[in-house]
C-alpha cells in the first residue's frame, strides 16, 4: 500500500463535480470556442484554443498572460469517447519532446457530472534528460505566473 503511495507520485488525480450534464461538460472541454472562454488559470490569462477533435490530431492552447507572457500547450488526441472520456498527450511548447498524458473522465452523478483528471508523466522515457532544462524553465515560469496572480 505504501508502495502505491510512492508510485502515485508520478501521476496526479484530481476530480470535481459540476451541476451540469455530461454532454455540456464534455463540450466545454472539447469545443475550441468554449475552451477559449474558460481554459485559463485566472482572469489574467486569455486562451486561444485550436482543436482538431479527431484521434491522432492536434490541439493547441495559446495562453497569454496580461503581462505579455505566452505559454503554449499542445498535444495529440489519443482517445475520444464522447461524452465520457478523453485521452490526450500534453506538452508545453519549448519544453522537452517527452509528452505527458492527460486522461479526462466525465462521469454522470445524478444530474451532475464528475470530472476526473489523471495527469501522468513521462510517456516517453528515452532522451528525457537532455530536454529537461526547457521543461523546467516552463514550469518555473508557470509557477512564477501562478504565484504572482494568486
Amino acid at each position: 500500500m505504501s508502495q502505491a503511495a510512492v508510485a502515485s507520485q508520478s501521476s496526479l488525480v484530481i476530480s470535481r463535480t459540476y451541476p451540469a450534464s455530461v454532454e455540456r461538460v464534455f463540450k466545454a472541454w472539447t469545443d475550441a470556442n468554449q475552451l477559449g472562454q474558460w481554459f485559463a488559470p485566472t482572469d489574467d490569462y486569455t486562451t486561444k484554443a485550436n482543436v482538431d477533435l479527431r484521434v491522432g490530431h492536434e490541439y493547441r492552447f495559446t495562453i497569454t498572460h496580461k503581462g505579455g507572457n505566452v505559454h503554449t500547450i499542445l498535444g495529440i488526441y489519443r482517445l475520444i469517447e464522447p461524452p465520457r472520456k478523453l485521452v490526450y498527450t500534453w506538452r508545453w511548447e519549448g519544453g522537452p519532446a517527452s509528452d505527458t498524458l492527460v486522461t479526462v473522465d466525465f462521469t454522470p452523478d445524478g444530474e451532475a457530472t464528475k470530472v476526473t483528471i489523471t495527469h501522468e508523466q513521462f510517456t516517453n522515457t528515452e532522451d528525457r534528460d537532455k530536454h529537461n532544462e526547457g521543461w523546467q524553465g516552463c514550469l518555473n515560469r508557470l509557477q512564477r505566473t501562478l504565484t504572482t496572480v494568486a
Binding site: 508502495q3 496526479l12 470535481r16 459540476y18 451541476p19 472562454q37 481554459f39
Partner: protein, 131 residues
C-alpha cells in the same frame, strides 16, 4: 541553484521499481546497512547493490562505508522536487477546474434540456443513479 532539472527525470525513473521503493520506505525510518536493506527481499546481494546504485545515482540515497559496514540514508531533495512538480500541476488543474465551474455557472444549463437548476454548487460526491 540546485541541479533540479536533471534529477527530476532520474527521480521518477528510480522510483519506477518496487524493490527500490521498498528500500526508500525502509530508509524513511532512518539509516540502514545494506544487509538490513537486503533482508526483506528475496534477491541476491549484487542485485540489491545495483538497486542502491540506481538510487544513489538519482541522488535519492547516500552510501557511506564505516569500517566494513556500508550504511545508506535517504537524501530528501530530489523527492521534494518530484513533489514540487506535482504541486505545480495540482495548482494548475485546480485553477482550471475552478475556471470551468465559473464558465458552466455563467453559461447556464443548455437550453435544449429543461433542467431544474436546484443543484447546489457542491453537489453530493456520492453517486446517485437515475432510474
Amino acid at each position: 541553484m540546485v541541479k533540479y532539472s536533471t534529477s527530476l527525470d532520474t527521480t521518477f525513473s528510480a522510483l519506477s521499481d518496487p524493490t527500490r521503493r521498498t528500500i526508500l520506505l525502509t530508509l524513511q525510518r532512518g539509516h540502514a546497512s545494506v544487509t538490513e536493506l537486503a533482508r526483506p527481499h528475496d534477491i541476491s546481494m549484487p542485485a540489491i547493490l545495483k538497486h542502491l546504485h540506481v538510487l544513489e545515482q538519482a541522488g535519492l540515497i547516500e552510501q557511506k562505508k564505516t569500517g566494513r559496514v556500508r550504511m545508506c540514508r535517504l537524501t530528501v531533495a530530489p523527492m521534494q522536487h518530484a513533489a514540487d512538480w506535482l504541486s505545480l500541476y495540482r495548482v494548475f488543474w485546480e485553477n482550471q477546474l475552478d475556471a470551468l465551474g465559473r464558465f458552466l455557472e455563467q453559461t447556464g444549463p443548455e437550453k435544449t434540456k429543461k433542467q431544474e437548476n436546484k443543484l447546489c454548487r457542491k453537489p453530493p460526491s456520492h453517486p446517485s443513479r437515475r432510474s
